[in-house]
């Protein structure tokens, strides 16, 4: 039983009087908390870069050439920057959804599967309304079809997330295990649809993908960047505003935070925890589903592929954890990860073709992981040496 821990000592101790701190000391204490929090990730990235340089030197490759590939692959020219944005948007949208559930203490590992079911949902909408598989020809225009794609994608992702949530609340299955299983099922179902004569594989084709989406189901693109669509950017901005309003202004966001800190107390204080689990999981799943749809509807893809999410869901988990579940920081952290990922692909190409960089491709993963590891480590260092104030003494007394 709990609560026993406070029995003896407080009985004789008078209540501590809270002294009013002066304004300057308050500012100083804010700064004292803020500075390490802001500087820690930069410090981690700096250490990671140092280690990467050492690894490359040791392997006999030139760090400057590697850096050049990273730069060339991401920021060097407008087309590359457009590609980077096209990669960044789904990552950001998924991350915004994850901010909600992780704040509520729900470890939605299943986000990867929710992206896949979202991609399947969008593809289904395209098959029904653009490719004429619907019994009646509705003659819908492109805007309506695209809206239907987004709705189907959101429904697909939300439904998959709700399965996970119901398994948790009613079946007692932790969302982590449920999520892993559902990821696997979603991936397998996707492969069933598009491989080995699956129902969505074009007849006669041996590629594990659907046919190219028809023109009236393709996202509009920018005039000057044919591989970038403005729609995901608008949706990402919308998702950001929505999640920011939920987290910073709404009562519901407060409830989610309470659930994340102590589900039991929140419930007893009157928060409808079960309903909120369904709502937050469904919203996160819907955003992940939409992101999955944008992955397959990207102007340079436009078909359901074998790996619609491409590990983006797991990347998004890393993003929100490194952003410390902050809605404001999420766009920036997801940008850094998009760059690392895109730049990594470019370096991989360099490893393949450039004699100055002839290294094994897998080294790119090592380099990326080094950055993540060092940033995580820097948080650990901060908590160890600059702990945030007012932490509870950990005291799990059991004297029954």
């Amino acid at each position: 039983m709990s609560g026993i821990m406070q029995e003896t000592p407080t009985r004789s101790q008078p209540d501590k009087v809270v002294t009013q701190p002066s304004p300057t000391s308050m500012w100083w204490s804010y700064l004292r908390d803020l500075l390490p929090a802001v500087l820690a990730p930069f410090f981690g990235i700096a250490v990671a870069l140092g280690i990467i340089v050492l690894i490359l030197e040791w392997q006999g490759a030139s760090p400057t050439v590697a850096w050049d590939y990273l730069y060339q692959g991401t920021l060097a020219d407008a087309a590359k920057r457009a590609d980077l944005v096209s990669y960044w948007m789904p990552l950001a949208i998924t991350s915004f959804g994850l901010v909600l559930v992780y704040t509520a203490g729900l470890w939605n590992i299943g986000v990867e599967g929710q992206m896949i079911t979202g991609a399947i949902g969008a593809t289904w909408a395209i098959r029904l309304f653009a490719e004429g598989h619907f019994p009646v020809d509705l003659g819908l225009g492109r805007p309506v079809i695209l809206v239907l794609c987004v709705i189907f994608a959101a429904a697909g992702g939300a439904a998959w997330a709700l399965v996970c949530a119901v398994l948790k609340t009613r079946g007692g299955v932790n969302e982590i295990f449920g999520g892993v299983a559902l990821n696997f099922i979603a991936q397998t179902f996707n492969m069933f649809l598009i491989s080995n004569g699956g129902p969505w594989q074009p007849i006669g084709s041996r590629a594990t993908e659907t046919a190219r989406f028809p023109a009236n189901a393709q996202l509009p693109t920018f005039e000057e960047f044919r591989r970038l669509s403005p729609i995901p950017i608008y949706v990402a901005i919308g998702a950001f505003v929505l999640v920011a309003v939920i987290m910073y202004v709404s009562r519901w966001g407060l409830q989610l935070r309470a659930m994340g800190k102590n589900m039991r107390s929140a419930f007893l204080l009157g928060v409808r925890t079960e309903r909120n689990i369904y709502l937050s999981m469904a919203l996160c799943g819907a955003l992940a589903g939409i992101a999955g749809a944008f992955r397959v509807m990207a102007p340079d893809v436009n078909k359901l592929t074998a790996s619609p999410s491409g590990g983006l869901g797991f990347l998004a988990i890393l993003v929100v954890l490194l952003a410390g579940l902050s809605t404001i920081l999420t766009p920036f952290v997801s940008f850094v990860f998009a760059m690392l990922s895109k730049g990594g692909q470019s370096i991989e190409n360099g490893f393949l073709w450039d004699h100055d960089l002839s290294l094994d491709r897998s080294l790119v993963r090592v380099l990326q992981s080094t950055v993540v590891l060092m940033v995580v480590l820097s948080f650990g260092v901060r908590n160890r040496f600059f702990p945030p104030r007012q932490t509870l003494p950990t005291d799990d007394t059991d004297r029954t």
Binding site: M1, Q13, D15, A258, N262, S265, L269, T394, D395
Partner: protein, 489 residues
């Protein structure tokens, strides 16, 4: 064997679980360690059995100081402990469990182990099949196996934690026979930790009483149960004359409610409460009062029976429906299930505000929190995280979060861990709520508190209840007997 504990102290964080306890246990005697929940008896026994180390003090076995680094180390010094839940491996057979934990080589000598097992079971008339699997055995049989295992390791001091919970009457009488013969014939030291005063009086020679981490006294047995109760609870002030309360309409009607939990069954409880009434639930920890109060809030679904709140049938309805009907529940673990560590007072207030608006007006919430803080005399600021407040202030703040017009207020240990002044203040606030027609049902481990504030008292023992509604019977002696298991005496 003689075990001496000298000046044992042990703290967990700010809690002093054992304060300078010195005790001697002689061979050939059976001792009882008594004390309310949180008195420190388990901590002391864990120190004695090598499970955890004391912060200071020493343990002497037959006059020689020993350092017990682990349960294995304690067994080597002849001290063994039988835990409340038998520590065995259910997928194994009796023999395999017997072998596990015995010193020996990589290949255990099954034959000699089997012979030892059979011989020991025969001696104590235990009916243990060496090849039976543990999960087929009753708790009592698993306990018997554990005793035999400890004895085969030449244990000379046997500590038993609540050994009579969950075993049959027949197994209990056999266990007591065995313990008596071990003490009287073999000269073992037996130490029993128990809540059940009847068992203690039946079995033990001497009782040692702890209260709030300190040694308060010992008494030879036989003695009256009331003597034990007085030692355990301290001097209970007799009930003061009070003006009769004006009771209003019925708020809670519980009829024939049974609640089944892992440990016990609360059996066919009926209770009618009227507005303005205060009813205390007495009983040793884990006698069923916690299950009962949770059933009255919808947190535990009763197995059978009906619960009505203000005339509306509520049994089986979820917690939030109870809350909507004007029920509030304040659990014992303030930071575990009452308040949310890491959130500020204002955030708590905003969270519990009964409004439909989808956003939070933080400016208003802050002002209103400030009002509550000054009204309830909470020492803290709206922006303080709740865990930085002291226990008394946390409890006062938790009270300030309750809605003003409640029909029924359920409290678990409302003043646990508070100093006298804070406790009085809490009760002032609670009793003031009766003016609004709130009925109060509370659990407390302090008999004082129950006697002082209850209009009626419901005593729990092993899931059975006795109602005490005659003020003349609300004395420490009478309640103590009921708490200890004497029905209706």
């Amino acid at each position: 064997m003689r075990v001496e504990l000298n000046h044992i102290s042990k703290s967990f964080g700010r809690v002093r679980a054992n304060q300078d306890i010195s005790l001697t246990f002689e061979g050939g005697h059976i001792y009882a360690i008594l004390g309310e929940n949180g008195a420190g008896k388990s901590t002391l026994m864990k120190i004695m059995s090598g499970y955890q180390a004391a912060d200071s003090g020493e343990i002497l076995v037959d006059g020689t100081p020993v350092v017990l680094e682990s349960p294995t180390g304690a067994i080597e010094h002849g001290i063994g402990m039988l835990y409340q839940d038998p520590l065995d491996f259910p997928p194994f057979t009796v023999l395999e469990n017997f072998i596990a934990g015995r010193p020996g080589g990589f290949f255990p000598d099954r034959q000699s182990a089997r012979e030892a097992l059979v011989a020991l079971s025969k001696r104590f008339h235990f009916d243990l099949d060496p090849d039976a699997y543990i999960d087929m055995l009753t708790i009592g049989e698993r306990q018997q196996l554990e005793i035999i295992r400890l004895l085969s390791l030449n244990v000379r001091v046997l500590i038993l934690d609540e050994p009579t919970t969950g075993i049959s009457a027949e197994q209990k009488s056999r266990l007591f026979d065995v313990l008596k013969s071990l003490a009287k014939e073999d000269g073992l030291t037996v130490v029993l930790v128990s809540h059940k005063l009847e068992d203690v009086i039946e079995l033990c020679d001497e009782a040692v009483v702890l209260r709030r981490g300190s040694y308060v006294g010992r008494t030879a047995i036989p003695c009256a149960i009331s003597t034990l109760v007085e030692l355990m609870f301290g001097k209970v002030v007799d009930r003061q004359e009070r003006p009769p309360v004006e009771v209003g309409p019925a708020v809670l009607a519980v009829k024939d409610v049974s609640v089944v939990s892992r440990r016990l069954t609360v059996d066919h409880v009926s209770l009618d409460m009227r507005a303005g009434e205060v009813i205390g639930l007495a009983g040793l920890d884990g006698s069923g009062q916690g299950e009962f109060i949770r059933a009255c809030t919808g947190l535990l679904a009763p197995q059978s029976g009906t619960i009505q709140i203000a005339g509306r049938s509520m049994a089986g309805k979820p917690y939030h429906r109870f809350v909507q009907s004007g029920v509030a529940f304040l659990p014992a673990g303030r930071l575990e299930e009452g308040l949310i560590a890491g959130m500020t007072l204002t955030e708590h207030f905003a969270l519990t505000l009964p409004t439909a608006a989808p956003w939070v007006n933080w400016f208003q919430a802050r002002r209103a929190t400030q009002d509550r803080i000054s009204h309830f005399n909470v020492k803290g600021r709206p922006g303080s995280p709740i865990q930085t407040l002291s226990g008394g202030n946390q409890q006062r703040f938790a009270l300030s979060l309750l809605r003003s017009k409640l029909k029924l207020l359920l409290l678990e240990h409302p003043t646990r861990g508070l100093d006298v002044e804070s406790a009085n203040y809490i009760w002032e606030q609670l009793l003031a709520r009766r003016e609004d027609g709130t009925a109060i049902l509370f659990i407390s481990a302090e008999l004082d508190e129950i006697v002082a504030y209850s209009d009626r008292i419901l005593v729990f023992f092993g899931g059975q209840v006795t109602m005490v509604d005659d003020p003349a019977l609300m004395t420490a002696g009478h309640l103590g007997e009921l708490i200890g298991g004497r029905s209706g005496a």
